[in-house]
Amino acid sequence: MAKGVLGNDPFQRGAASRQPEATDARKPAEEKKPAAKKAKASGKPPKQAAAAKATKSRQPPAASAKKASAKAREKAAPPVAPEPIADEAMPLREPAAPVTPRTTPPARPPVMADDAAQRTAENRRVDRALTEALAAEVAEAAAAAAVDEALQGREEANQDVDRVLATELAAGMAEAAVREVLDQDSGTSPHRARELAATVAAQVAGAAGGPAVDEVLEQHASRGPLERGADSRAPLSSDEYEGHLEDEDDEDAWGHDAWGLNADADDEEPLPTSEEVAAMEQELELTASVTRDEFPPQRRSSLSLVPPVEGAQAESFSAGEFGTEPERPPPSRAGGMFALAREIAGQALASEGLGRAMGAMQGLVEAVRTGLGASGGTRVDEYGKDAALVENLQPVLDFLYGPYWRVSVQGAEMVPSGAAILVANHSGALPYDGLVMAQAITRERPDLREPRWLVEDQVFHAPVLGTLFNRLGAVRACPENALRLLDEQRPVVVFPEGYQGLSKPFAERYRLKRFGRGGFVKLALRTGAPIVPVAIVGAEETSPLLGRIPASFLGLPYLPLMPGPLPLPAKWSIRFGEPIDLGDLAPESAEDLGEVQRLTERTRESIQGMIQALLRERRSVFAG
């Protein structure tokens, strides 16, 4: 029964095959360890500069040694249930620790030349140890709380054991997360790091509490029938267990403690842990080819794998990346869950660090709520830009602007200070161009006032999209607004193609539509603000308009048919041109339609020319 359930579990199967990839992709620290030089490590591309790697690699072992002692101290104080398992985890990491620190000091001087640097490195190590200790404590507490809460109301036979296991599972995961975070941003100040670590620990532990309990309980549930089915297994595994303990001194203390603690529990109780250990160890060694669908045979085989397993375990702990032992659950659903969580966490960390990833998520959620009209924002200016939302969304915007679209800006120095009308081509089914232009000007020309862009009514009054763009800084295109913005000495981005520019099919991309009635020329003549032509290439491929779905029932002219819900990672190029020479035309010539038409056409030609140039220079849509 239980076998069938587990064997058919797609989650579990996925987990088994995913595990190695996840480990591969993640840790730079892992390959640094000589012990960890496995076939696995070779698959990893040498991402970081060797020097950076060297300096970084120094820290974890020393820190973990310190952490171990610090943690031991802490552990001594609160006589709570998780104690023994936690202590077990520390010694396991110990053996590897002395190996690297001894080799590191000679290597450091080249990297950090003077004594001051040395000291700071020392300080940093201490800081790091302190931070980790703090995080461990926080994680422990948070995990205990979460687990207690999760366990409440569940009547299982081995509450104490469950609690210990689950707490340790959650805390271990939290600590691993903290270490990852700390490894990622080693440059931050100790205070910030500590704060960050504590937050991460608390959050992860808190969140992991529930699933951990589920896991442990499920483990019990699945084990009961299993053991009945395989009678021979129990004695074998207990024997193995004893042998295992004798083999491994480090584990001794924990093992006995566990025994003592679980004395009241029934005989089988220690078995899960030994199985767990063995299974986890085995999991480290096994490659993706091993299927885990057959549960009992695998367990049995795992038990016989003790000797090779120890080495693997030591490695993993010395790497300090897999975290404490109990977080490696048996090859059940937990394996998949943890691998998935790590993978996600690892990816998030790869860009900015967990804190920022969380911030980005928060920003996106906030953006969705804003679009739906339930943001409740309070920092909105009179044009509708929500400063709080923009701040929250900045990590996302940074990502889109930088690694995703790789916006390259040319000629930003052409934008004169003060009021200026930036005339650009409009493109793409969804008008990201205004947002990107505003970002580009803010980044390239921090000396200018904050730019705003004007959007046509069809976008401004579109539900969700219009609301969201408005909160991000879009202003409805009308002469009153433009005059006011120019009066405030801001650069104003206008798209004179307007709605026509958005709704042109993909085949006609980068072919400029008519430039309206030349409103921007009239504005320029009236206010004396210069006209700067701007060409944007890449926006069309970001959200190509493949077709239009009629949507008048939604109050929209059409719904754009796009390749997907997300923008494509086309490379963007923005080129600012020479300001259009208005000569010495008087403001009254804004009434002269011929003159306005002539200037409009000149601007249009200038932009079209720059677009053609950019297109010629572009070799690939996505690579640039």
């Binding site: 804003t370 679009g371 739906l372 009209g373 339930a374 943001s375 409740g376 924002g377 309070t378 909105v380 200016d381 009179e382 044009y383 509708g384 929500d386 009514d457 009054h461 539900p463 969700v464 609301t467 909160r471 202003v475 409805r476 009308c478 009153e480 607004n481 006011r484 109050g555």
Partner: protein, 310 residues
């Protein structure tokens, strides 16, 4: 200085009278109303503005006391039970008041209005200045009466250039004991809004409104003034600040439900509010600041919070 006030027991009257009582330069407050408010300086003349002979009584009272300024504040903000009665009071009453003011050669006339009279339309600029057209709201008698009154007042202003006429367009008033459609809307626990839209709203703290009214007594300017609080909030933010929760509903559903409730006579929300939940209608208070000297003290947040405290 002698000041005459119509509608002294109404929303604006209640705000203004205490300030006039405290103003040492105001020696008498001539109240032209159906109810007598409390106050030492108050001199009560019972006048029913909806009566056809109200105009004569008003002229007599204004000339008899040689009034320096008239505040015409007889407008309804509470729940309107009878639309025609409200129309009678606001439009016909204003007509009477304006005729009397013309006859009495009144030096100063102050009439309140609403920024809502601009109407919430898709073609509104980000900030509405006083010269923007008053587009009103097609579904709302309440708003359209105000637009009509403003038309009368503007016509009066052209005909009587020696009467300094000030129209104060107030953003929705919020305060501890304020009763108007917006305050009622925001005092619900859950406020329905339109899904996908979150227009910008303004609000005015009752204290600021009282100050603006009082400033109009001496201001050396005439014409219309937007009287708005500091800052703007999206509707959802305003609702939250007032201690309620926004509930975005899809437009067609919301509209149908409102119309159905309206037909059934159980109208819980004015249908007209839908427009104001759809498009922004933010008025620019710059002119009130430069010409009237009115600088709002309270942010919209505070105004909404004041509503929550009550």
């Amino acid at each position: 200085m002698r000041v005459a006030v119509t509608g002294a027991s109404g929303e604006f009257g209640k705000l203004l009278l205490p300030l006039l009582e405290r103003d040492p330069n105001v020696e008498r407050i001539v109240v032209l109303d159906v109810a007598k408010p409390a106050g030492d300086k108050v001199e009560f003349h019972r006048v029913d503005l909806t009566r056809h002979d109200a105009e004569g009584e008003l002229t007599d009272a204004l000339t008899e006391h040689a009034v320096d300024a008239l505040y015409h504040l007889a407008f309804l903000f509470g729940p309107i039970r009878s639309g025609s009665m409200a129309h009678e009071l606001e439009v016909v009453g204003t007509m009477n008041v304006l005729t009397a003011a013309g006859r009495a050669r009144l030096p100063r006339l102050v009439v309140p209005s609403l920024t809502a009279a601009y109407g919430a339309r898709g073609n509104n600029p980000a900030l509405l200045r006083e010269e923007a057209p008053l587009q009103g709201c097609p579904h709302s008698r309440f708003i359209n009466d105000k637009v009509e009154v403003e038309g009368q007042v503007m016509a009066f202003r052209e005909r009587h250039p020696d009467t300094r006429t000030l129209v104060l367009r107030f953003a929705p008033l919020l305060g501890s004991d304020v009763d108007n459609p917006v305050a009622r809307l925001l005092s619900r626990a859950v406020v329905p809004t339109l899904l996908g839209y979150d227009p910008l709203w303004q609000a005015l703290h009752a204290e600021d409104a009282a100050r603006a009214l009082h400033l109009a007594l001496r201001a050396n300017a005439s014409g219309a003034f937007n009287i708005v609080g500091r800052g703007v909030l999206p509707l959802s933010g305003l609702i939250r600040q007032a201690g309620a929760r926004p509930l975005p509903l899809p437009g067609p559903m919301f509209r149908a439900a409102l119309h159905a409730l309206d037909m059934a006579g159980a109208a819980t929300l004015p249908v007209a509010l839908l427009d104001y939940m759809h498009y922004s209608w933010v008025a620019d208070g710059e002119r009130a600041e430069s010409a009237l000297g009115f600088v709002p003290v309270h942010h919209v947040r505070d105004a909404a919070a004041a509503l929550r405290r009550s």
